[in-house]
Amino acid sequence: MKTLPIVDHPTKAHAFVADNERTHWHDQALWFVRSKRDKQAGSVPEWEYLRSLASQIKTETIAKLGDYLSEFERNATALGATVHWAADAAEHNEIVLKILRDHETLRIVKSKSMLTEECGLNHFLEDNGIEVVDTDLGERIVQLRKETPSHIVLPAIHIRKEEVGETFHEHLGTDEGASDPQYLTEAARGHLRDKFLAGEVGITGVNFAIAETGGFVICTNEGNADLGVSLPRVHIACMGIEKIIPRFEDLAVFIRLLARSATGQPITTYTSHFHGPRDPQSELHIVLVDNGRSQLRNRSEFRDALHCIRCGACMNTCPVYRRSGGHSYSATVPGPIGSVLSPTRDSSSYKSLPYACSLCGSCTDVCPVKIPLHHQLLAWRKELVDQNLLPYSKRISMKGASILFRNPRLFTFAGWVGRKSLKWLPHGMTHNRWNTWTIARELPEPPRESFRHWYAANRKR
């Protein structure tokens, strides 16, 4: 495996954060989605009950994942689907390419799938001469701009409508300067209709795959997944192995939670259930992808991260994500869950992500499957120390703090120095470009005396 470049979250976020107005707008846009989620969650009296059901079902599924996958494979095959197994991203891409080559395909239409993003499928297929059209509007915008999604549910949340207007003007020939979402969406509708009609194979992701029935479910609002797979004769569905749920009835629990948590809708416009190929002349291929998931399952402290149903609620609520933007995480899945998942792939490259967190715990509160996200982020920090991956500056200061707290006299002295210097040091000494902490903060007023001093004077007889 090639070593990845180190992702330093603060550096990566720098450009985004520097644009104050934009950061604010981004923050508000996501908070709006978060508020819609709260309204929906509040309208279901059994919300907490559903969360615990979901958590229990997922825990059980991941425990018996091998059995459920075999059961799924058996049932899906019996329905006439072809089930493929991919150990990693490269194998997944090869499998998809093989299917396309076997059908002499030159053009595919693809609906939103974070798994194919994770595997870098688009570039791989394009390098092999296949035209790939992302049909989710947000993903299409991002694709035309040669960017990557910055959010797993709202891929283009970081892009302003004026910028979409420019992109569409360039690629779809819309009026220059147009920025009306209605107009732009209509233009995309027309443009993508042609692509749908020309698509030779439809590729989709999977929201849930049901072991008991061998079928799977895809949720969209636009109807792009359905349009994409109901015209061509070949449908390829790509899924991470953690997307399995045991029973058909379990869908009720997850479908009730998913859209409410994701966008604050009672359910997505289309919740489509696929069980086997469309007809005897059609093919349905399901690609089961591991790509690190089975290893993650073997790590008890982070295993729960496999319960994620990719609703994005933890991102929408995260004060760091909202202000730093999805690209600052340099991974397909950003935000709190991304900060847990990315270091499991490569702890050295992603070592700054568990620190892109204030430990406020809001992500844990909103997560529909009750992943203890902020506890896992804290656990990661400990793990990084154990792996000796803490940056030198932090290691030194931790060492210093440890000495300080172990030594009462030194502690008293340091307190005295602190109080005096807060009082006497000129502002320029504390607020300068070397002290990033004070960029937007003032230092506290120094107290007149230490607690120890106060206690001795007032409470000790």
Binding site: A29, F32, V33, P45, Y49, L53, T59, E60, I62, A63, K64, L69, L79, T82, H84, E91, K98, I99, H103, D136, L137, G138, I141, L154, P155, I157, R160, K161, V164, P181, T185, R189, L197, E222, G223, N224, S230, L231, P246, F248, D250, L251, A252, V253, T263, P266, I267, T268, T269, Y270, T271, S272, H273, H275, G276, R278, E283, L288, D290, S294
Partner: protein, 205 residues
Amino acid sequence: MIQQTKATTKSRQAILDRLLGTEVIGPGLPTVDPNQLIHFEDPVAKFIEVLATVGGQAHVVDDLRQIGEILAKLPVYSQAKRVVSLVPEAVPSSFDLAAIDDPHALASLDWTIAKGEFPVAENGAIWVQGETMPHRVLLFIAQYLAIVVSRSQMVHNLHEAYARIGTPKSPFGVFVSGPSKTADIEQSLVLGAHGCRELQVFLTP
């Protein structure tokens, strides 16, 4: 069709070995307690209310003939050229669907009148079963969609809905809730993303 691609299972055993090699004890699967689930005093009213919030329109009708009358009042229907009706008792089709075997030929379809199995009160969704449609694309490619469904079949919540479906018998089934929509441009809601621009639901007795 050139050839049917065979399943790739080279990594199957390695993945399963890894998963089965580490034993993890799970909590077992829960049984959902029906007493904890939401029920509505007037599920039909709830359905209509939720459907409106997701951009759809419901009409309570007592006679199938009313459907045609209500549709005729909509300019987008009266001006429509190509209509497929899967509920011929209520409205006629404008052309012979049986003559079409390539779904691409439906690209210029204006309306589909589909048949729903049952509505769900909690989320304004209607279950549409694949085999009611000769081409499943009918539901997604038409500019406008109407679904005719019996209100006496109403279920309160999704748990009841899945219990009702039981084991899926056809390759395709879908919950439809409102017209196709997107908010991908600055979170502004736009109806009519790729699928239908409007959804009319007729609740028959």
